[in-house]
Symmetry: C2
Subunit: 355 residues, 2 copies
């Protein structure tokens, strides 16, 4: 990772660390934050002095545009520590470029590489004690940007705040994941912002997800909003379907997030000799494959849960429980991926980047 | 307006007023705020002590869910002052119930009437000097709610902040409004959140609106995302089309905001003997009516701009400039409406409510 201009970042250290108060054995995802954060404001058409400082609340005007018009985007990535205490990122270039793709779609300024990647690098160096070794352990990284300009008029802000916060996470067993296929509600419109990691995309899913939860399903698999016939993705995961020995996953589009885990699994699977088809998968096809017993697996793929096996799906009020099988592709790919991320295996793809 | 439990609101007065610093002759919409705001937090499953206090920035944790997952909704309404210095609201029950409809869709707690309407009432009484008499003058009211719970995990917050802020506005001439009809980008999905006044709906429109602005169009008329053949609404206005002497406007749906101005104009127009049809209006129909010269007017309707005449529309790279006509329905209805809102005319509908 380039380290040009790192001298520019002002660093204000926390007087004491909170790390001893944290029980790393029982972390609830995204709820504990490290000692410092990275911050850079955009004002008068340019990015201001970046600063690393103690994690703390900050002041916002009640008319800040993020509250009223939802200009807010984020990324999700992880840092890992290997056996030699070296710290690694996984494909950070992908998150960086996706962040700026989101920024453009939400009419927000792009964040320079220098600020995003160097800021992250230095923040990780300062808070490296928060990264624990061992498979499943990681420091979850949340870069985000919000509109801080004031005024209740529906047009783009001229001031923004970019921040990076860090949250230690450990491997978690998400339990039995049953999903329901969306028949009425939708996540994204054609020509909408589904491909952006925009804050508003997530709140939009909470109500239908609550309804699904009440019926006993942990997640929704979204379909295209016009016909509800094409399988798209889950709330924070792309989705793979294994029919016989072929893996299927929807192509990315303006409705679907271009997941880093998704593209990584496609490459990993192919390198393992697994046939992967990237094409629209119809709900009818899934039901058909279930009936003729060629549907072997469904799993979600995303930074937070890595690979998340799905045990069955509901559609038109019928629950389809997948038969339990041995040697799943989900586990095979998850193991491969985690071993690369945790530097337990070689990384022939050059995906891991040392901090 | 009911005034039960008003005693509950704690009132902290600003030591001095900012009102003398404000030039009420040249107000830019939504940029100046009155001395006080109303605030009520939701915590531990219930609404806490409401308070009216000086308008000021407040502290939020960097992991507040509003920043990451966009749980944020708002309303827009106005208060008017009549010749006797009495203060009036226009159909506040409509904004109140729409606010809670938005809250449900965004998995946020509903705000009790007591908090919303009494809070507003008392805030207006305290800041009544900010409401100026005269047609076009009003105090714009912005109730809003944001998710203040912390943690970067994509599920609903368990803490929220409800606020009301006030901004004096005067009548403004929005200039010549030329619009472009959406052929690629969209505002809302079927089964999405288009009918909610959710913050994320607005940021989603900024990028396509910037593109439209660059081509010389001030606004976009959105179409259905699946086919782009049906005319829906503009960014912050519902839209009416006058073909011969009939007014047409799209029915509200889960993609379209149920505008208070829209439903008011429908009633007003009908009471004036104008034929109003509420039905899907096709883009092809609009182009056809333009060609055979039966398309007489297009106008937007919303709280901020009241009634906003549109001078022409672009579709498939062809700009269709409407012929200038006298005695427009837009002006007729705008005058009627403003006279009722400003208490210059009788209000046979019972829409105005005294504070
Ligand atoms: C909507 C959505 N889809 C898919 C993903 C998976 O993407 P990635 O693998 O880059 O984490 C995420 C989350 O990160 C997401 O928010
Ligand atoms: C998307 C949208 N449509 C229409 C309107 C008009 O609604 P109302 O007349 O209630 O202000 C608004 C704004 O207020 C809006 O945000």
């Amino acid at each position: 990772m380039s380290t040009t201009q790192t001298s520019k970042i002002e660093i204000i250290k926390a007087p004491t660390s909170k790390i001893n108060e944290v029980d790393f054995k029982s972390l609830s995802f995204g709820s504990v934050f490290s000692d410092h954060l990275f911050e850079c404001d955009f004002k008068n058409g340019e990015w201001q002095q970046p600063v690393i400082k103690p994690y703390a609340p900050f002041l916002l005007d009640p008319s800040s545009r993020v509250f009223h018009y939802g200009q807010a985007i984020f990324e999700g990535m992880k840092a890992y520590k290997d056996e030699n205490n070296d710290v690694w990122l996984f494909r950070p270039d992908q998150n960086y470029s996706r962040f700026n793709t989101s920024a453009v779609r939400m009419a927000m300024p792009e964040v320079p590489e220098d600020i995003f990647l160097n800021g992250l690098n230095q923040l990780l160096q300062l808070d490296e004690a928060w990264i624990k070794k061992g498979k499943g352990n990681a420091l979850y990284i949340r870069p985000f940007m919000i509109a801080t300009g004031t005024g209740v008029i529906a047009n783009p802000s001229n001031e923004y705040k970019f921040m990076i916060i860090l949250s230690p996470v450990s491997s978690y067993y998400s339990g039995d994941v049953k999903v329901i296929i969306a028949e009425h509600y939708s996540r994204a419109a054609n020509g909408g912002i589904g491909a952006a990691k925009a804050a508003g995309n997530y709140a939009a899913q909470f109500y239908p997800t609550n309804l699904a939860n009440k019926e006993g399903f942990q997640q929704i698999i979204w379909t295209d909003d016009a016909t509800h016939t094409k399988l798209e993705e889950a709330g924070t995961m792309n989705v793979f379907f294994r029919i016989n020995d072929t893996l299927l996953t929807a192509p990315v589009s303006e409705r679907i997030l271009d997941g880093v885990t998704r593209k990584t699994l496609i490459d990993l699977a192919r390198s393992e000799g697994i046939n992967v088809e990237i094409r629209s998968v119809l709900v009818s096809e899934l039901v058909e494959a279930f009936k003729n017993e060629t549907l072997k697996e469904i799993f979600g793929a995303g930074t937070a849960a890595v690979v998340s096996p799905i045990s069955g799906f509901s559609y038109q009020d019928v629950y389809h429980e997948l038969p339990k099988i041995e040697n799943t592709m989900a586990l095979q790919l998850k193991t491969k991926l985690e071993n690369i991320q945790n530097k337990l295996d070689a990384d022939p793809f050059g995906w891991t980047v040392k901090v």
